[in-house]
Amino acid sequence: MRVWGSVLGGYARSRFVRRVLRDFERGLVAFSDLERSIVEASSVIIGAQVSAGLAYVVDGLLDWHDIFRSFVSSWRNVTPTGLLRYFDNNFFYRIPLFTGEPEATRLVWPPRVRLYSRLSEPSGFKVVIPGPFTFTSMSINASKASFGELASSIARLLESEVRGAVESGASMIQIDEPILSDPDIKKDDAIMAVELINSIIRDIKGVKTILSVYFDVPSSSVYEVLLNSRVDCLSLDIIDAPKRALDLILGRGFGGHCGVLGLINARTIYDDDISRLEDIFGSIIKGYSGEEIGLTTSTWLDLIPYDYSLRKTKLLGLLVERIARSFNLEHVWRVS
């Protein structure tokens, strides 16, 4: 069996990035200077992941103010509005306000993939998009479309993003649906979410696809539906509620998907107890029949300070190495 590591999503911003963004907002630096600075900072983050032995890397999403913003800024008929708390974090996102059917004015991912995928070698480059169900649920719909119609429109645009990203050289596509961990999510919601995700990846071939649910563990009825998704891998936040996560996985397995385990706690700054994580992994692997398994962070690394986000990257790399050795698994650290 193969094991690989990959950070779930975005990174915290360094002082350098914070400053350049602020200076740009104040009109003190040009857009080209901002872009160059972001590329430099992203390169550092990619380098940290590659050197930690992670098979798939992200660019850090340093210029994204929240998971939705880059898309909202690239689409017509939607605008960022007031702030709302982002799940159970002391972090706020700007609520997208849809006033009509969204239309893309440009693509977010393909240029990034072209820019960063070479830099990521020998690791593969991972693209992260918000899932259409989470996107729609966390937006205000002031358009004439129903929830389902708006979600379908968003899914169509995200499908273009994914197609463009794959053509540009992405190795992995991750679709984030954190809202599916919300206890109020019903089975019908999950069915809609999965249908939308399936529509996004329908024609995608040759890259790994992941559905990622985090901030909590989905209910068993929701999880049951997620097992029908056509993605290759299912990623779960294990460490936020280990007992419930283990109950779910040991009871239901991954339904033939490759499992991705959110073991490194991305919301704390202390070093994770690697031995304890090995124990958790051990209890999961006993009943696991897949050919490969992924290890990741419990959520994005943008909720802790920059230094610690790099530290957690290193810990994830160490965890993958330790687990590969302890369980006699093949450690995948390069893709290209």
Binding site: A12, R13, R15, R18, L21, R22, E25, H65, D66, G82, L83, L84, R85, F87, D88, N89, N90, F91, F92, Y93, R94, I95, P183, D184, T268, I269, Y270, D302, L303, I304, P305, Y306, D307, Y308
Partner: protein, 330 residues
């Protein structure tokens, strides 16, 4: 002559108000070490005066200092108690950050943290009562990193003791309204968390001669309502407008029997609610038949700090007028 708070539908605020430029400047100077804590307290006062003038102009009955000195609701207290180290920058939204504090030792009260500005606000409030407002132990715990206790119960209990000490200072000085803010509770609405906070609130509020208030906002409070209604408080201060009064049936079902301060203006919207819209919000609460007008307080959903000042003022003005009309109606 003492200000007389209306018997029905008193108006109040949750606490924070848009930061005045003087306050922002003072926070920056204090952070860079240019000024001492004592100088900081003085420099912030003109900002507090402006806030109070806005409240008085709008006609709010029970006011605050606008939390002008507070860079952030957690950082402010963490910087002023023992056991915390101020951490590195963590993003709050867009390109805005706060220094997420780290618990590195036993937390202890050192000296009054909010008293000076409470006293100052009281001195210029034209006798309107001023709330003593403190960030609650659960929120302090959840929005800090903990490298010392590694045990949530131990940490929250010690934080409660620190807050209790601060409350005692405020009451000694004459505070009649003590509010503990717990926005983090509704983001992790689990029974065990609700019960953990109850234990902490017992420490904070036991035997107090003041109106005891807990403010909770957003999130999924309905999930834990059965476990919080016996909190040792006189008043629940809840966000309602933003969630379209979703909590009302739950409060009714579980036999809510305390005072209810309910949000009638949305602090996330730049749109100023009309007087009529706020009257309708009050009507919605009254129709739910949970509290009588004597136990109903009218207020914004949460702190107003994220709004432009002119919008915050306009919202308060309309809120006060709507409450006045409700007094005639009920």
């Amino acid at each position: 002559m003492a200000y007389s708070v209306p018997r029905k539908f008193p108006t109040t605020i949750v606490g924070s108000y848009p930061k005045m430029p003087q306050a922002l400047e003072a926070i920056k100077k204090r952070k860079s070490g240019e000024i001492s804590e004592e100088e900081f307290k003085e420099i912030v006062k003109p900002a507090i005066r402006e806030v109070v003038e806005d409240y008085l102009w709008a006609g709010v009955d029970i006011i605050s200092d606008g939390e002008q000195a507070r860079e952030d609701m957690v950082v402010y207290f963490a910087e002023r108690m023992r056991g915390y180290s101020i951490g590195d920058w963590v993003r709050v939204f867009d390109n805005e950050y706060f220094r997420k504090p780290i618990v590195i030792g036993r937390v202890e009260w050192i000296s009054p943290m909010t008293l000076d500005h409470w006293l100052y606000t009281t001195s210029i409030s034209q006798d309107r009562p001023v709330k003593g407002i403190l960030t609650g132990p659960y929120t302090m715990m959840e929005w800090s990193f903990d490298l010392y206790y590694r045990d949530r119960r131990e940490l929250i209990i010690d934080l409660a003791k620190v807050i209790r000490r601060e409350v005692e200072e405020l009451i000694k000085a004459g505070a009649q309204y003590i509010q503990v803010d717990e926005p983090a509770l509704s983001t992790r609405p689990w029974r065990e968390d609700a019960e953990l906070l109850k234990e902490a609130l017992d420490i904070i509020f036991k035997g107090l001669e003041a109106k005891r208030i807990i403010h909770i906002c957003f999130g999924r409070l309905e999930r834990i309502i059965p476990y919080i209604l016996d909190y040792p408080v006189d008043q629940f201060d809840l966000e309602m407008k933003n969630s379209n009064f979703r909590l009302l049936p739950y409060l009714k079902e579980y036999g809510f029997n305390k005072e209810l301060a309910f949000g009638v203006v949305d602090v996330h919207s730049f749109q100023v609610e009309s007087i009529r819209e706020i009257e309708e919000a009050i009507d919605t609460v009254m129709r739910a038949d949970i509290v009588n007008p004597e136990k109903a307080y009218v207020k914004p959903d949460c702190g107003l700090k994220r709004l432009p000042r002119d919008i915050a003022r306009a919202k308060l003005k309309n809120m006060v007028e709507a409450a006045r009309r409700a007094r005639e109606k009920y």
